[in-house]
């Protein structure tokens, strides 16, 4: 894992990628710091962290687009996959390298609150919490980018798809607002979910019986829930989308709330996407 990590870090800085990422990140961050804190003569640094989250939309794709797609295109994956290196170590090494580049860049911005601290007292705990949240949010986005990079051998497609996926995260809140919250729509949504799960099973296993079994089990569970607690279906769509709302959880951090459940959520989110990435690479061998 350490070998892959070192190689990736080197690859970031032997190409413009690492510098572009750091440059833009620090530029935007510095701009907002100047605008919000210096010109406005405010000591509210948390709102800077809250406002610059949008740069992930543009910078995470740059960081993650070539991580796995490039290996597939250059066929260097043949070296990695035929070596005694385990897949999870490979994926983890790559992920941690991207996170490290992001983390180092973020560390540079610590200068700003230090500068602020010369001119007044800062809410130190809240700022640390804000940084933790910002770091977790970025790490979660990087895990999405890494996953998408494993789906294609074309960097550009990976970058655009990652941008699209992150954009979806941003507008998830608006989508939520437009969704119906009544019980019928909840039931319909649950049915669609079960069908989607069955379809996924069918496409991965090509076995119609297992898919039918998934539908039957799903229907049974749905009925059971409906009998025990019909209220569970009220606003199901909104609740479901809530699970994926990274930004909503990040909001808490920018308001100075360091919630352990959010930290845990972000870590699970990253782990899930890393796991999916391993599965995608593994599946390529079998198809």
């Amino acid at each position: 894992m350490l070998a892959v990590f070192r190689r990736e870090i080197k690859a970031y800085y032997s190409s413009p990628t690492g510098y572009i990422f750091m440059g833009f990140f620090l530029l935007i961050c510095g701009f907002f710091f100047a605008l919000y804190n210096i010109w406005a003569q405010s000591r509210d640094y948390l709102s800077v962290l809250g406002n610059i989250a949008f740069i992930f939309l543009f910078l995470v794709p740059i960081l993650t687009m070539r991580l796995i797609s490039e290996e597939t295109r250059q066929k260097t994956d043949q070296l990695l996959l035929t070596s005694p290196l385990s897949l999870s170590n490979l994926v983890l090494g790559k992920y941690l390298a991207a996170v490290a580049v992001f983390g180092i860049t973020l560390l540079v911005t610590v200068l700003y609150p230090i500068i602020l601290s010369f001119f007044g007292t800062l809410a130190l705990a809240e700022i640390i919490g804000g940084y933790v949240g910002f770091f977790l949010l970025g790490s979660a986005f990087i895990s999405i980018g890494l996953f998408i990079s494993s789906l294609t051998d074309n960097q550009i497609i990976a970058a655009v798809a990652t941008f699209g996926a992150l954009l979806l995260m941003w507008i998830l809140g608006w989508i939520q607002q437009g969704m119906p919250t009544d019980r019928v729509s909840g039931v319909v949504f649950a049915v669609l979910l079960v069908i989607a799960a069955a379809a996924l099973v069918y496409f991965t296993m090509k076995n119609i019986y297992v898919s039918v079994a998934v539908i039957l089990v799903g229907a049974a569970i749905m009925t059971l829930i409906y009998i025990i607690n019909p209220f569970a279906y009220d606003g199901l769509i909104v609740k479901f989308l809530d699970w994926f709302s990274l930004l909503k959880r990040y909001d808490g951090f920018t308001r100075g709330i360091l919630s352990l459940s959010s930290v845990f959520y972000f870590i699970s989110f990253c782990s899930a996407f890393l796991f999916l990435t391993v599965r995608v690479i593994e599946k390529r061998r079998w198809s």
Binding site: A3, R6, S15, Q74, K75, T76, T82, P84, L85, R285
Partner: protein, 315 residues
Amino acid sequence: MIQVENVTKRYGQHVAVDHVNFTVNKGEILGFLGPNGAGKTTTMNIITGYISTTEGSVKVDGYDILAEPEEVKKRIGYLPEFPPLYMDMTVQEYLNFVSDIKKVFGPRRKQSMEKIMDLVKIGDVRKRLIKNLSKGYKQRVGLAQALIGNPPVLILDEPTVGLDPKQIIEIRNLIKELGREHTIILSSHILPEVSAICERVVIINKGKIVASDTPENLSRGLGDSRKFSLRIAAEEKQALKLIRGIPGVKYAESQGVREKDTVDILVESEKDIDIRRPLFYALSRAEFPILMMKSIDLTLEDIFLQVTTTEKEVS
């Protein structure tokens, strides 16, 4: 050392490798021969664990590639068709990285790396970026990568493709030398290459093994005639008439005029009869000087056409 049993690989409806069986003994160099798209690379990818089988099993040194992939991968050095090189690294960095992922550590590491670089002659480019190297050097770096960790099994997919003739000979000699200590599978579509290096040849077509023998037996057993190309200073019709009259000549055909006042003729004879002497005497008696006589070896295409048209299957 390597047992490939009943290996099949399907991509949807397409069968890339169809119930392939063969074994490679310890210390043997096996040639894997076939036209493009025959399933050579797929089979090699399966043995190295890069892709999986649809059916069948592969065992290396007694370890199954599916059950104990890491044990198998530790024992194999693989040079794929396109050497898996990172263009943004120097040769030295790259080989260090490969040593890391192959878990070659300790004091022996540096020593063995020097040895490998000496062996494939890349010591003088160790500080250069791989993207700036020529095709021949890239191929050699690829080979060096396969040798790292001194694996007992080497799998080389068209190792001489894209090299110049001098490099081809160097790499062939190197492979022969490596064959003393390693078990090697080597794929190629060039017959002379395989007959020069390999002790045994497996010919594969459309995913099936169609022949498996030593190179000598293959060309002897499969060819039922010998071919010569002649250039004679004579008139075409007379020369053909004369040659066709020599006992043992099965077939003679003009190949046109390539040099002024001469004619090129392709002569085919029975396998067991050496017609070179009778040819010489007959032509010299008629005062048709022989300017060139060249034996045409059976090419892969010839052997290939024969094994594929007779549809003989060897398991």
